[in-house]
Amino acid sequence: MTENELLTRISEVQFVCVELNLYLDTHPQDADARSDYYSYSKLLGDLIAEYENEYGPLMGFGHSPVSNGCWVCSDWPWEKE
C-alpha cells in the first residue's frame, strides 16, 4: 500500500474503534461490542505498526518505537494537500 492508502486504511479502522469506544462508554456490558472493539483494536495496532515501520513515527512521547523516519521532519496533517 502507498502511504496515503495505508493512512486511509488506518483512519477507517480507527473510526470503527472510535465508534465502538463511545458506544461501550454507555453500554459497557455489551459482549459483542467488546469483542468487536478488541479485534478492531488489534487490527489498528497492526496497521499502525506497518505504517510506522515503513514511513516513520505517527505518535510522539514514546508511543512509536521505530528508529526510522523523523517526527520533526514528516509533514503535519494540514500540510498534506
Partner: protein
Amino acid sequence: MWIYQKKLEFPISITNPDLGVAKALMAQYGGPDSELGAAMRYLTQRFSMPDDSLRATLNDIGTEEMAHWEMIGTMIVQSMNGASAAELADAGLAGYYTMHGRAVFPADPNGVPFTASYIQATGDPVADIAEDMAAEQKARATYEHIMNLTTNEQYLAPLRFLREREIVHFQRFSECWNILMELYPDGDQNKRCR
C-alpha cells in the same frame, strides 16, 4: 494525558479553496458552538460527573472534539494559504487579515474571539448533560448552514462526516441522560452530594 497522532481523523485536501467557506468555518473553530467549545465543555464537565459511564463519555467525546477542531483548522489554513490580501478582503476577511494575517485564530465569522463564557460546568450533572445534548444539536445546525453555502466537494465530504458525528454524540449524550434519570428516579440529583 493525551498522545498526539500525526494524522487527521478524516482526510482533508483543499486544492480548490473558497474563502467564503473558510470564513463560515470559523464558526466551528472559535464560535459559541465550535469544536473548541465542545472539547472544553466536555473535558471540563467530566470532573464533576457522578457515574463511570458519564465520565467516560465526556472524556472520550471531548477527546474526539479536539480531532474535529484540528480538521476545521486544517480546512481554514488550506483555504487561506496562497490567498492575496485583496482576495481575503473581497471575502469579507479584511478585518481578520489585519489582525491575524493568514493564521488560524479562534474567532467566529464576525471576528468575535472565543470565550469561556460559551460553556458551562454547573456541577449539576442533569444541567450539564442537557447542555451537552443542546450543544450537539446547535453544532449540527451550524454545519448544515455551512454546507448550504457551498457545492465544493472538498469541503462537503469532511463537513458531512463532522455533521454525522454531532448526531452520534447526541445519541450518546441521550443515553447519558437516561442513565442519570435511572440514578435519580425522583428527579433530585442533589442527593448525589457526598
